[in-house]
């Protein structure tokens, strides 16, 4: 089941560490996302797998074979570059056919597969058009088709959707997922967009400063973040510094009974897990609504509390909601709150 | 087999990794060419300036300062170089004062006028300088010059305007010949400007004159200055135009060197004039470029 294995992969540029001991196993047919802010090493990792950057240490093995000895032209990978990198002097069909040409595939078979793949990405009508006459979304599909038609062992996607506008991006996310599921190619996706990673990936590798902070399915990464970085990078979260007692935590005027060690701790609670209690209660912290923003399907609140500014997200169900300046009581379930005591890996 | 390897090695160096074959190999042909055909001849010329020369003995390969002393002390040479740089300065000023506004006006035109007039203004750059200078000789040459004849016939002047063999004539003709360089430099600077900046200033209440003075000019100035450097060095080293318009009577540095080399045959002295010209220009160009970079680097990084 292990198709691609990265073993303690590292890359240093002079003194600067771009990738730090990254270990990852990818199963056949899996879509794994490398997610992180710019400079976290995700693109460098991709370049090492593609062969355009030699690793400083560590190894990359594909189907059990070490890739270090294999030249980039022979690795059999399909790459979609961030800028698409289409050949401007060739039509869409010629672009897609190029890889097959390099493999020495006969004309008739080439044309058949090109037509098939262009149809797969929905561009059958644009086969004879040049890239400069295409929209960004169309170019992106040509790039995808070009990478898929060669039936690559692994598909590498470098921020494939970052150049598209928001609505198109969302549509393409769904399509990309469907195509990948249909074709079944093992895929590695590099992105800085957490919603994209969560939408597309079977597993997410959250990277920060060259290191993998968590490798887990999207749901787990979101609900049970391993570190504060992961918690704040995926979705929004409220990070509260507080002091815990042996039997629970005190936040403002609210108490949450939990089993924990006494001392300073950090609590994180997702904004959508916070409710407005109808009146003051024991496990509710009181505050005043500072800002309220309407976002269509939800409301976003900034609430002033004794422990600082807290963000609350409530679904727009049509019910009455607090307004700016209102006094509110914020409550949540103990199990939705993640407590971290310094020195412990996870609470 | 060996040839194929070299070719593919060279090709490799142009594609993927920097880790591949060195760029030194790629630049080697051009480098060798330049060392052999540029550096060596220039070095030889400088060396030549130290040689001795006599009308009967020809060039004597010794190392003496005779030519340099002559150039340094003889008032004739001072006058030549003074004239050369005076002409160059005037030409630079004229091209700046006339060329910069023209570039600005061109920039504000809409296509197709813009492209058309750009062609008209820049095109002459690629037309033979001899042909262009000939045109000036035809326009103002003595009493048969077209303009002179017309003005005399109209009764506006009684004698032809002096042009040929005058410094004014050389300045005017050189201004024409070198104008495209200035327009080009300012045009290039203007292309880098964000057109919205002018609109922003207008929306904040600035009048047209203020916008020109406070917004456009400061941004265009580096372009004007780099154009000025180019025009000055080309004007100071100009040959064909001063030779045709100035003739034998009005020499500049370049025509002086030509004279020494091909008429008097005193090569060492000619080499001295040439070396001096080269040194002066390189100093001025490099110095001004440094100044330019330092003062304007922050704005345009």
């Amino acid at each position: 089941m292990t198709y691609l294995v990265l073993d303690r992969l590292s890359k240093k540029f002079g003194e600067q560490i771009a990738v730090d001991q990254l270990s990852l196993t990818v199963g056949r047919g899996e879509l794994v996302a490398l997610l992180g802010p710019s400079g976290c090493g995700k693109t460098t990792t991709l370049q090492m797998i593609a062969g355009f950057q030699p690793p400083t240490s560590g190894s990359i093995a594909l189907e059990g074979n070490d890739l270090a000895a294999v030249k980039p032209a022979q690795r059999g990978l399909g790459i979609v570059f961030q800028s698409y990198a289409l050949f401007p002097h060739m039509t869409a069909a010629e672009n897609v056919a190029f890889g097959l040409e390099m493999q020495g595939i006969a004309r008739a078979e080439r044309d058949r597969r090109v037509a098939q793949t262009l149809a797969l990405v929905g561009l059958a009508a644009l086969a004879d058009r040049f890239p400069r006459r295409m929209s960004g979304g169309q170019q992106q599909r040509v790039a995808l088709a070009r990478a898929l038609v060669i039936q690559p062992r692994i598909l590498l996607l470098d921020e494939p959707l970052s150049n598209l506008d928001a609505k198109l991006r969302e549509d393409m996310q769904i399509e990309l997922r469907q195509i990948q599921r249909t074709v079944g190619t093992t895929t590695l996706l590099v992105t800085h967009d957490q919603s994209e990673a969560m939408a597309l990936a079977d597993r997410i590798v959250v990277m920060n400063q060259g290191r993998a902070e968590q490798i887990a399915p999207p749901h787990e990464v979101y609900e049970r973040p391993a570190t504060a970085f992961v918690a704040s990078f995926l979705g929004r979260t409220n990070i509260l510094q507080l002091c815990a007692n042996a039997d629970g935590v005190q936040i403002g005027d609210g108490r949450w009974p939990m089993a924990t060690t006494a001392g300073p701790a950090t609590a994180s609670i997702r904004p959508e897990k916070i409710l407005f209690a109808p009146s003051a209660q024991r496990n509710a912290v009181s505050g005043v609504v500072k800002t309220r923003i309407f976002q269509g399907n939800h409301w976003l609140y900034q609430v002033d509390t004794p422990t600082g500014l807290m963000i609350v997200i409530r679904q727009n169900t049509g019910e009455a909601v607090p307004s700016e300046g209102d006094a509110v009581h914020l409550t949540w379930r103990s199990e939705d709150m993640m407590l971290k005591v310094p020195g412990e890996a996870r609470a | 087999m060996k040839r194929r390897n070299i070719a593919s090695t060279l090709i490799s160096a142009t594609t993927a990794d920097p880790a591949r074959v060195s760029p030194y190999l790629l630049s080697l042909p051009a480098f060798l060419l330049f060392v052999a055909v540029v550096l060596v001849p220039i070095a030889m010329t400088v060396l030549l300036s130290f040689h001795d020369w006599g009308q009967y003995k020809g060039i004597e390969p010794v190392l003496i300062l005779k030519n340099w002393r002559e150039v340094a002390s003889d008032g004739y040479f001072h006058e030549m170089f003074l004239r050369t740089f005076r002409v160059a300065l005037l030409v630079t000023l004229l091209t700046a004062v006339l060329g910069a506004p023209e570039a600005y006006i061109l920039n504000r035109m809409r296509p197709p006028w813009r492209g058309m007039f750009l062609l008209v203004v820049l095109g002459p750059l690629l037309i033979s300088v001899v042909a262009r200078t000939l045109g000036w000789a035809l326009l103002f040459g003595g009493s048969s010059g077209v303009i002179n004849k017309a003005l005399i016939n109209l009764g506006m002047i009684s004698a032809p305007l002096p042009f040929m063999f005058t410094e004014t004539g050389v300045v005017v003709a050189l201004t024409h010949v070198l104008m495209p360089f200035m327009v080009l430099a300012v045009w290039a600077a203007l292309q880098r400007l964000d057109p919205q900046v002018e609109n922003a200033a207008a929306s904040l209440g600035a009048g047209q004159a203020t916008i020109l003075r406070r917004i456009v000019l400061p941004q265009v100035l580096p372009g004007v200055l780099s154009g000025a450097i180019i025009v000055f060095s080309l004007a100071a080293s100009a040959f064909a135009t001063p030779a045709i318009i100035g003739g034998r009577r009005l020499k500049v540095a370049a025509t002086l060197a030509y004279d020494e080399f091909l008429n008097t045959l005193n090569w060492p002295l000619g080499a001295t004039v040439a070396t001096l010209l080269l040194l002066a220009l390189v100093t001025i160009i490099v110095g001004c470029n440094r100044l330019l970079e330092r003062r304007y680097a922050e704005v345009f990084r």
Partner: protein, 268 residues
């Protein structure tokens, strides 16, 4: 952007007249039916154009210029391609110095180059030879070829080459099928600009061209030194006509400003 006012347009008009007057006058005088310089004329005549045929030295010089231009710009371009690719794609020690060296002919006065070449070629026995002339012209047009080749190489998205490699292309295939086609427009215009520079070059050439290898500008220049008559204006008119055609062609296909600076009038 606001339009140009009447004052600006008047200035512009005068400017254009200033730029075109000498060129127009040369062409106009060339059509004179008289045996001497005269303008305006009673009619148009081609007599001075036909007269060119009686001066074979102009025709020889014309072909010498063409031949010289073709050879020197072609060689300069060929040598500039690897140099441009090296400079554009690799950050190596001495890159700045090397680039400055290659661009130096732009900074060295042509009169100095002419003298230097005269001395150099005479010393090594290439004096008054076509080969010497070619070498000199290659060096002088090289910066123009290099600048445009460089602009092409820099302007190319490297990821495109990586894409080709990832699809299995060997280095030779990448160069032949991808790199070369994409930088060719820059190469062609670089070649054209180099050719024009060589064709027009007079200052340096006048030092090293011998009676047998004279180029057209040199021939015209020497002729003018003796006298100015309609013959040289008709020759000039022909040169102007040919150059203008080439100019317009270049502008249409590439853009004159892009040719001379590197960036076009509508590009950011």
């Amino acid at each position: 952007m606001s339009r140009n006012g009447p004052l600006a347009l008047a200035f512009h008009g005068a400017f254009v007249v200033f730029m075109l007057a000498p060129i127009v006058i040369v062409c106009a005088v060339a059509f004179t039916p008289e045996g001497y310089l005269s303008f305006p004329t009673q009619g148009l005549s081609l007599r001075w154009f036909k007269a060119i045929a009686r001066y074979p030295e102009f025709i020889t010089a014309f072909w010498a210029s063409i031949w010289l231009g073709l050879v020197s710009s072609s060689i300069a371009l060929t040598v500039s391609v690897p140099a441009a690719l090296a400079i554009a794609r690799h950050d190596f020690k001495g890159r700045q110095t090397l680039t400055a060296l290659f661009m130096s002919p732009l900074m060295i006065p042509h009169v100095v180059l002419g003298i230097a070449f005269l001395r150099f070629f005479t010393q090594i026995g290439l004096g008054n030879s076509f080969l010497g002339l070619v070498l000199a012209h290659i060096v002088v047009v090289f910066p123009f070829a290099l600048r445009l080749t460089l602009a092409s190489a820099v302007g190319m998205d490297r990821a495109i080459e990586h894409a080709a490699i990832s699809l299995g292309a060997s280095d030779m295939v990448v160069f032949r099928r991808i790199t070369l086609p994409l930088i060719t427009p820059g190469l062609v215009s670089g070649w054209a600009l180099a050719f024009i520079q060589s064709f027009d070059e007079v200052t340096m050439t006048v030092f090293i061209a011998a009676p047998g290898t004279e180029t057209l500008p040199v021939r015209m220049f020497l002729y003018i030194q003796d006298n100015i008559d309609p013959l040289v204006t008709s020759v000039s008119a022909v040169v102007i006509a040919l150059t203008t055609c080439l100019l317009v062609l270049l502008d249409r296909t590439y853009g004159l400003d892009r040719l001379l600076i590197g960036r076009g009038r509508d590009e950011a």
